[in-house]
């Protein structure tokens, strides 16, 4: 019970901070620039301990678990904040799960205090060959790579799947940013030419599938939570607008044809919330933990993309201008749908899991 209350207080503190430090005007102005992430905002939230949230207390983190991580990502989505948080969330979880004590001591502190920013390739991205510890290859479309200081690459070594963590400053690494419609996130292609790694960079899972699934589970929950926050935020903005915008001598929010649409959106987001909270509440090894996370991801990102799509329409002409905020949420919503597995890919996997039940 006290945990639940704490979570609410925590979520409130995330939102309050972001409303103050990343108000709509800032988000609108930022969307016109072309930056990998907001360095100022990142140092502020790191100083507040947001990057330490899902790290265990033993490693110097806050040990607040997945529900708190979901609450954080929901708040980040609500503010459309340009922070490469997902990489750190995943990196901390992976290192804690499969890193050696030496690796934990070497890598975790800087991820926890936010001085390092990690990025992870999409599942199914190119797997490099790490035999001989010299890496060559191209990994395309890595979320937040242009903002990262530490990249995680999937590789095989002596026939086994491993993760290799390398600083972006390592000799032979080149990262090229690919412009995205959603300027609140960044995407990059990583080219590796004769990059030397050593054993300290190699994270070897005892079970590669388990490690992959756990990364996917956390990413799915974080993205679903981000989508949930964005959906509620864009709907709230739209309802505000509908209360003041007048046409034909009355506010457009009094037209039943529009009211019923936002009522449906609101109900859909209330239902979506349950999937996110449920997925976040399950332990990693609970029987349906991955099923719940993938279900939340495919459903909530779809719902929010539809809500955001309609919110532009409900705004009318101004919704099509970059002066107003809905387009930022629409673009973020569409990117969330595409990240870490499109809906079809996830649905196929969900169907497999339902059949195996």
């Amino acid at each position: 019970m006290s945990e639940e209350v704490d979570l609410e207080v925590l979520a409130e503190s995330f939102n309050e901070f972001l409303i103050a430090e990343w108000p709509r005007e800032k988000a609108v102005a930022y969307a016109r620039r072309n930056e990998a992430y907001s360095a100022d905002l990142w140092s502020q939230v790191a100083a507040l301990g947001w990057t330490a949230l899902n790290a265990s207390e033993a490693q110097g983190g806050l040990g607040m678990g997945t529900p708190a991580t979901a609450a954080l990502h929901e708040a980040l989505g609500a503010a459309a904040s340009p922070l490469p948080m997902l990489g750190n969330t995943l990196a901390i979880a992976l290192i804690e799960a499969i890193g050696t004590d030496v690796q934990k001591a070497a890598m975790l502190p800087a991820l926890i205090d936010g001085s390092e920013r990690a990025c992870f390739p999409e599942p199914g991205a190119a797997t490099l060959n790490a035999d001989g510890l010299v890496l060559n290859g191209v990994v395309t479309d890595v979320l937040d790579a242009p903002a990262a200081t530490l990249i995680f690459l999937r590789a095989t070594q002596a026939g086994k799947t491993v993760w290799i963590a390398l600083p972006t400053t390592a000799k032979g690494i080149e990262i090229t940013a690919t412009p995205l419609a959603d300027t609140s996130r960044s995407l990059g292609t990583i080219v590796l030419k004769d990059v030397s790694a050593d054993a300290s960079n190699v994270l070897a899972p005892t079970n590669a599938q388990t490690a992959d699934d756990e990364l996917m589970r956390l990413a799915a929950i974080a993205i679903a939570a981000d989508a949930l926050g964005g959906g509620n935020a864009v709907l709230a903005v739209t309802i505000e607008y509908m209360k003041v915008r007048e046409q034909f001598g009355r506010v457009i929010g009094s037209f039943q044809g529009l009211k019923h649409r936002v009522a449906d959106h609101k109900a859909a987001l209330e239902a979506a919330r349950e999937l996110v909270e449920h997925a976040a509440s399950l332990d990693a090894d609970a029987p349906d933990a991955l099923l719940a996370a993938l279900t939340a991801k495919q459903h909530v990102t779809r719902v929010t993309a539809e809500v955001a799509r309609d919110c532009i329409q409900l705004h009318g002409g101004v919704g099509f201008t970059s002066e107003y905020v809905p387009h930022i949420y629409l673009k973020r919503a569409k990117l969330n749908e595409a990240l870490f597995g499109t809906r079809s890919v996830l649905l196929d996997r969900i169907a497999d899991m339902l059949e195996a039940k």
Binding site: K266, E270, R343, A351
Partner: protein, 401 residues
């Protein structure tokens, strides 16, 4: 084999043991072929079947499982009521069909607003007898806009004289009593004023009940015509003119348990539907994905209802007033889309008509029946268009049109 005695109520205090005892009891006492039996009988013969199951439930104290002690029920803590409904649904035990109003709406209304004499007279007929109650609320001109009802009740010395027409009364054809809303004062300030709440004996002269033939081929509902029907003054529930308020407790009484039972029943058939389709539409990539997507929607409804039940268990006064509205607006359309999905997935086979199976709510697994029946959740109990008005105006604060 000698049947053992089951002591379900004696297990209160140990949820696991309670649940197991219900499972054991169901495994032994639930007739395996009840679906076939119930499908092929109607009217009095169906009532006899339902009563048989009701008696089986009474043997273990679960005739009216959700009733508190003071109503004459087992007084189970809410968490245990949830277990009862969950296990009955999981085991595909039948709903008590035509006893719905008797078991939910009548006691809630009488216990909160009825006189001692009314409670004494009528509740035994439900806990120990087989009285069927129906509800006389909706009218041809007052559906979702219930408050504009026009059936009149004129006071004449020691009784009221009722004239008017009711519609959508479930089970009215077989009912012994009716919970009736009628207008006692046509000059009320608002249309909600001047409505009174009565118990109407269905054997009273002047009542004509005509079945409504539904799109499902069933006649679950009826129209009632009242022509100078006399209702004695002692059958007025609460104060004259207070009917609208009393009706609110009638309608809000089910505390989520009915919908919970229905959704858990659907969750069971959803799983069976996918399993049975392994060699058919689950092998089709499009249907398979659709099924996986519908799973997410189903889970979201189940989770919303669990949240509501948890809140009610913790403190009914503090439970979210908005959650039930969201649940209705998500569940009805989901049910409609899922049952329609099965029609598309199963082709011609799904179009073949069979009589409905009473007691299965929305999970008879007769495809076309379940689909047609799904309108019960999108139209009844305040149509979903009304739900959208409620959400946009009362929750989101948008102005009335």
């Amino acid at each position: 084999m000698m049947s053992r005695t089951f002591d379900i109520l004696g297990k209160v205090g140990d949820e696991q043991a309670f649940r197991q005892e219900i499972r054991d009891w169901l495994a032994e006492k639930l007739p395996k072929n009840w679906r076939q039996k119930w499908q092929n009988v109607r009217d009095e013969a169906l009532k006899a079947e339902v009563v048989k199951w009701l008696e089986t439930r009474r043997e273990v104290g679960l005739g009216a499982a959700h009733w508190p002690k003071e109503w004459g029920g087992p007084g189970l803590p809410f968490a245990y009521q949830i277990i009862v409904f969950e296990e009955l649904s999981k085991a595909d035990a039948p709903e008590l069909d035509m006893f719905g109003i008797s078991l939910f709406h009548t006691p809630a209304t009488l216990f909160e607003h009825g006189s001692q004499a009314q409670k004494d007279k009528y509740l035994k007929g439900i806990t120990e007898g087989t009285d069927i109650w129906c509800q006389g609320f909706s009218e041809p001109g007052a559906g979702s806009d219930l408050a504009s009802l026009r059936t009149s009740a004129r006071f004449e010395g020691d009784h009221y004289v009722v004239n008017g027409q009711k519609i959508w009364s479930s089970g009215a054809a077989h009912a012994d009593y009716c919970l009736l809303l009628a207008r006692t004062d046509p000059n009320g300030k608002r249309k909600h004023d001047g409505i009174s709440y009565f118990i109407m004996d269905m054997k009273s002269p002047g009542i004509d009940v005509r079945p409504i033939h539904q799109i499902t081929g069933e006649s679950h509902f009826a129209e009632m015509f009242m022509d100078d029907v006399k209702i004695p003054i002692e059958n007025l529930i609460g104060a004259e003119g207070n009917g609208w308020n009393i009706a609110q407790s009638t309608l809000s009484t089910e505390r989520g348990l009915l919908i919970f039972g229905e959704v858990e029943r659907l969750a069971r058939s959803f799983e069976l539907d996918g399993r049975d389709a392994r060699d058919s539409w689950m092998g089709d990539v499009q249907f398979r994905r659709e099924y996986a997507a519908l799973y997410g929607e189903l889970q979201s409804v189940r989770l919303m209802i669990r949240k509501l039940l948890k809140e009610l268990e913790a403190n009914p006064e503090k439970a979210s007033p908005t959650l039930p509205t969201y649940i209705k607006l998500i569940w009805g359309p989901f049910l409609q889309r899922y049952t329609e999905f099965l029609l598309r997935a199963e082709g011609l086979e799904a179009q073949k008509w069979q009589p409905a199976i009473p007691g299965t709510t929305h999970s008879s697994r007769l495809r076309i029946n379940d689909f047609l029946n799904s309108y019960g959740w999108t139209i009844a109990g305040g149509s979903n268009e009304i739900m959208r008005n409620i959400i946009s105006e009362r929750i989101l604060g948008l102005p009335k049109g």
